[in-house]
Assembly symmetry: C2
Homo-oligomer: 418 residues x 2
Amino acid sequence: MDLEAYCLQTATAARRASSALATLPTEVKDRWLAASADALLENVDRIIQANSLDLAAAAGYGLTDAAIDRLVLNQSGIEAIAQSLREIAALRDPVGQSIEGWVRPNGLEIRKVRVPLGVVFFIYESRPNVTVDAAAICVKSGNAVILRGGKEAMHSSKVLVDIITEVGSQSGIPAGAVQLVSTTDRSAVGQFLKMNELIDVAIPRGGKGLIERVMQEARMPVIKHYDGNCHVYVDASADLEMAVKIVVNSKCQRLGVCNTCESLLVHRSVATTILPAIATALTKAGIELRGDRATCSLIPNAVLGTEQDWSTEYLGPIISICVVESLDAAIEHINRYGSHHTDAIVTENLQAARQFQLAVDSSAVMVNASTRFNDGGQFGLGAEIGISTDKFHARGPCGLSELTTYKYLVTGSGQVRQ
Amino acid sequence: MDLEAYCLQTATAARRASSALATLPTEVKDRWLAASADALLENVDRIIQANSLDLAAAAGYGLTDAAIDRLVLNQSGIEAIAQSLREIAALRDPVGQSIEGWVRPNGLEIRKVRVPLGVVFFIYESRPNVTVDAAAICVKSGNAVILRGGKEAMHSSKVLVDIITEVGSQSGIPAGAVQLVSTTDRSAVGQFLKMNELIDVAIPRGGKGLIERVMQEARMPVIKHYDGNCHVYVDASADLEMAVKIVVNSKCQRLGVCNTCESLLVHRSVATTILPAIATALTKAGIELRGDRATCSLIPNAVLGTEQDWSTEYLGPIISICVVESLDAAIEHINRYGSHHTDAIVTENLQAARQFQLAVDSSAVMVNASTRFNDGGQFGLGAEIGISTDKFHARGPCGLSELTTYKYLVTGSGQVRQ
């Protein structure tokens, strides 16, 4: 079968499965999730064996040690995947959830209820645990999913999908609900992205190059997971100790992720009191400081940054620092240079907190909390398939609800329009 | 100024206005809406004069009598526009509305609140009242809007926008909040559709050709208002009188709109009892019947339809009719040939009603009610900017809420991630 025919067959099977999934009872889906968890644990050897093929090929793909580390599946890793399936089973099913409901003067009852989006095309990096998580999140929310994982994890992903789909066929999950793209041919992605009649949403996760390609080629809506140039703004009334704690946590708790702080703004009135304490703590944590002139005049080890630095997502041990004249200047800086992802203010002033949350145009706006909390798990949303940097449809953490749309159920007793 | 520079300037002004609009108090917006209503009534002569220029040119544009009729602005038409502004002023402001809120175990307070989308690019047909309605809906929901109306209504739209923006500058509405594209050059649309950095959503309303063009060229999300091939399914247990009433209303109450019934399905067990009564009523109303073989064998004046008929949105005095073997067959037919817009069942059977609402994949699924109720006004949503046939972001009537997204406001007392 040629590539185009293969992709069409895959997407058609997913579309067909999605119709059945849309009305599948929650208990069937949850039973499958639990049985899949059991099956993964029963097949540890089979999984580790497949994983060893990926690990053997990893060096040939030029993977870094960190990337190889994320690729490894061992007993505890498989247990974590199984645990994640059980947690998704325990989440409330969004399908059928009543969002709003009311009765019209003519007696018509109107209910707005959640329904699945349909078919999800998920393109992601080489982490085998993501394969199972994404399959579980999509099916739990009533969607069929076409999984296109990195080639470096192909053997691992294949055995995982084989196991959960074997369980699925015994549990009443429709065939085609979860499909792993079996070819590593990159043009398969382009084929799927054309099929807007069969696929309802594309979700790319990975490097900017991939996301830009998907945005350009996709004929269906895309939920993007783009960059995070997150700010912490230390306000005039900030508590020193809290400011240090929040900046250090936002920057250093984990370096390479999207909700990490990349830019620090400090109100001029506390630049001489609070900024040195923060700079010392960051320096101690191994962070390079790139400041504006005001910062550099106060902090000896800060190097002079450029305009470019204010918009950069370093994903590493560097932070940019600017001294700002006012709360408004901080807000303006964030809305101009930021990426509308996650931004925080440290303040004891109620008006400043309210104004910051009102005016900063980001998916999450924090008051006196680390930027690192913008995360589906930390928000208590349960599993997430990504963090959307879009405004349309879903913004911020994308959990089960964000993979649904709604329909209106209207019930009457013979009403007609006058 | 060349076209590209003009479009860029317009979109930039809209983007700038949208930042100010996002935090504009509701009372400022409502005051503007009320003052605009007053100003329209004070400027009736000026509006009618501008409108007469459009009417004089209408024949030259080849407008039909019906289209010219929709173009006319007289005293009562202007009063209706003013009244619509007052109704939009009375609607609840969606901006800042708390969708959900909860407290995490670590004490973090999380609130999901509605915020405007930003800048709306609205492309619409030649109806001057739509110009004012769209401006009001967008600004009330905190968005800036770029209005691209049909050239046939250009003089009327221009004077209307002039009046409401004059009032706007006195009422504290930021400049650029409402802009009418002043050129009739068709390539201006293409220019705007490229500006995904400045425009957040494109909303085309009009013919299929326009919508397809927008879908192809837009680099930003599009809310489409596509076709409506709506069905009424008369179930085995339907009440005869109610079935006749609902089918006739769904088909005949207004012919040329998207929520009009285009296809009738009748369960075989009532084909001999109910179908003839419906056919007689439809024929009396001047509707042509195109049936499958079973229908034609029962209804002498039905002509034999083709596969093509089952998927056609006639927008005129024709209906297609099929006899189906079962509820499931009806659902399958609707999901296959329908356009996922509005579909209704007439039934006295609770299980049939529930199954139909569960399985039919349409923006509104009606039980014992006319398809004509799928409408923002009829749903009680207030003014609408269109009816989305998309699943993503907004489905069905698009009122104020559908022009918003959300952000998470997270408030803590120094929490950091472990």
